[in-house]
Symmetry: C2
Subunit: 451 residues, 2 copies
């Protein structure tokens, strides 16, 4: 962690003025309880600030887009919010007009239970696609959560648990840093393990050429970030767009982009710093840069937690590609490698198979020249690279040396195309029998529907 | 099989004037024998016509392209050939200048052993990437095969076995049909099980917009077809291009396009029909259509054998999509579904999960509207569809009914986008633990390198 950030406890309630709760209300209708928490995993979370916040969001660019995403995109227009209600177990995707009514009803129920202004609650959902929300359970859950709200570490942990689906563990962190002489806190929680290759934009629309979001790419990943920094909504959106482009939009577990991917940030200003704002990008000052760096740090740490906890994942590989003709081609090249079934299974086997890697480069939409390609391995973040291929030719590195480099549970794979200045990083994962086993599901159990 | 085609024995030697052989020469240097066949799988095949043939070929569009592919592309210019030498165990890909020398040496060795004109032998390779060909073994193999040549079913079977890599069984067939009053035969053999999503073009160059070969798509599949039809080379190439666009380029096992994909056709004219030729497409007559239909039939049957024998494949799914805005979008949509890890694992589980299918549609580069999508199941080739989703809404079909429809080892998945007239068919497969198990390989065994 850079010296300017100090890790602090409390996750999404680390920042002043935020409270959270996570309860069980049986959204999957397991029949093990209602509105209570009799040992089953929590499935509904509430997150609320004591004062209205600047709000920003990034949303899936999947054309099949869930009702809660549509509601959030619409509410981003005013750049203000004060609470988020989040459920797991049901994605509220492909649920038509009733789905939209239910998503809106969830925000209204939260606003009423929390006594905040109408239109100030946001909503996030993850779970089964194509099933109507069990609104009776959800209503009881929201009311129970509103009573449970608090700002202890335990409250943050319950909220982080409530948003999990196939995650094996909850994911959260918080940091403290200086902003204009004030101590500012920024914390977050996220979920996601399968259907993970986010490509989010500010309004869910496909950008023509936003770096890091190539068209046609493919998690439900949900991320919720809170801060007591004072920052104008439009500036917050700019900071988040850049942070997501360098974090959540740089991960892939299985190459599938979800209908529900959402990252939301609430900034309530209680740290008392001079509000960060700007009219033009050129006016962005040191405080903006410090805030953006903190936000990006938290987003990247959360994003990496998702890859490490990806369904069935045994190995995490950070792809570092340089020398493409441009950034878009660099991105296409790393995604072609990261989503190749043959490359992913070789990673699972600890096999330093450069043949499959160069094959995946060759069929990507990026221009490559065999005689210019370098491929090598390093420990995470290290610049000491063991090259297996240089200028298209095997090096003198022995098979045993290369196997040792590909054996750790995390390593960096370096690829140089030696053509231009385009570069890209992608946090990727192996493909294991456990992934297949989990996702082939149990035909007797229709709850395996993803989203 | 259409009534006009009669199945005949003999595969690649069914047509008049062709001979074949398959021998073991230890190309992987297992050390179990040299130039002999002591129980190990054959690994070198020869195929030869008694007279020079019109020749046509289609080749991988992967930018990383093996030496034998480059040699064939170059020799296609004259449209004439008389023999093919094929090895398994080594792809001769990423082998630089020595690789090109070795590929050319293989053709020269074949030409000498067969006493045919220089430049009249073609070459195909499949196996490990990045390893130089063991030319001593190959030389012995070519000489041994030239002695073994014959035109019995056993000879064809030995050749078909020699080109296998991870294939569990050899793949071949032959048909007889009438052409201008003459009995014509057309037979073929192919191999391929993993690294399968061919996108071949006539010269290996990426077409801007050739139907069935979207840029950036992703087997070694090798196919060799022989016929005694008389057909001019340029017309043969036209017939093959169309046949491959509707067969080998319409399959995917794992979405990975190989460095070595090759389909070659040799037509020696010994059937004695009036040679098929044309100056413009408008001049194509009934005989061309009959020949093209026969060629396409054989290519499609061979292509389907590859999917059925795909690595670890338990279920084969024929995707039939219609109603896209255009053909390119239809193709993008079916490939997005067919290559989704979540869709493929649900097929493995026999799970009629339309949520994952519509999710994959949504992130494809094809335009889709949730409220217009239909998804359904039928038995192979049937028009009696059990719809699970109509106009974005679940139908009254029960989960048990849908599970029954997704249970057979082969079924058709119908998708209608209801937007336009673009349609596409893709022959796809599930993703199983066995695929992962096979491809994670054994790190102690570097022979798992694909290509």
């Amino acid at each position: 962690m850079p010296k300017t950030f100090t890790s602090v406890p409390g996750a999404v309630v680390a920042a002043r003025g935020f409270r959270a709760a996570g309860v069980f209300c049986d959204i999957k209708r397991l029949g093990t309880g209602k509105g209570s928490n009799k040992g089953a995993k929590r499935d509904l979370a509430l997150l609320v600030s004591e004062v209205p916040c600047s709000a920003a969001g990034m949303f899936t660019t999947n054309q099949i887009c869930a009702a809660p995403v549509k509601v959030c995109v619409s509410r981003m227009a005013k750049g203000m919010a004060q609470a988020v209600v989040i459920n797991s177990g049901n994605a509220n995707a492909c649920t038509g007009k009733q789905g939209m009514k239910d998503a809106l009803a969830m925000t209204r129920l939260a606003e009423q239970a929390l006594a905040i202004s109408e239109g100030y609650a946001l909503v996030g959902s993850t779970g089964r696609i194509g099933v109507l929300m069990p609104m009776e359970n959800v209503t009881q859950g929201i009311q129970a959560a509103a009573i449970e709200l608090g700002s202890t570490e335990a409250h943050a942990a319950q909220a982080a648990e409530a948003i999990m689906t196939s995650d094996s563990r909850s994911k959260s962190l918080a940091i403290e840093f200086k902003l204009g002489g004030k101590n500012v806190r920024l914390g977050g929680m996220c979920k996601g393990a399968g259907m993970i290759q986010p490509g989010m934009s500010a309004n869910g629309a496909r950008p023509a050429a936003l770096p890091g979001i190539p068209p046609g790419l493919h998690a439900t990943m949900l991320g919720f970030i809170t801060t007591d920094a004072a920052i104008e909504a439009r500036t917050l959106q700019m900071a988040l767009r850049e942070a997501v482009a360098n974090s959540f939009n740089r991960i892939t577990v299985d190459g599938d982009m979800s209908t529900n991917d959402t990252v939301l940030v609430l900034a309530n200003g209680l740290a008392g710093n001079t509000p960060i704002k700007q009219l033009a990008k050129s006016e962005l000052g040191r405080n903006y840069k410090a805030f953006q760096a903190a936000l990006q740090h938290v987003c990247l740490e959360l994003a990496k937690m998702i890859v490490r906890d990806g369904e069935g994942v045994h190995r995490v590989v950070t792809l570092r590609l340089s020398g493409a003709r441009d950034t878009a081609e660099a991105d296409a090249a790393v995604r072609s490698i990261a989503n190749s079934a043959l490359v992913k299974t070789s990673w699972h086997g600890g096999d330093p198979n450069w043949g499959r890697i160069i094959d995946a480069l060759g069929y990507s939409s990026a221009y490559v020249e065999e005689a210019k390609v370098d491929i090598g391995y390093s420990t995470p973040g290290s610049r000491q690279v063991l090259w297996s291929l240089k200028r298209g030719q095997p090096t003198s590195a022995t098979f045993a040396e290369l196997c040792a480099a590909a054996a750790p549970s995390e390593f960096d794979l370096h690829v140089r195309l030696n053509l231009g200045k385009g570069s890209a990083v992608l946090y990727a994962a192996d493909l294991t029998e456990a992934y297949v086993e989990y996702n082939k599901g149990d035909v007797g159990d229709p709850t395996t529907l993803g989203g």
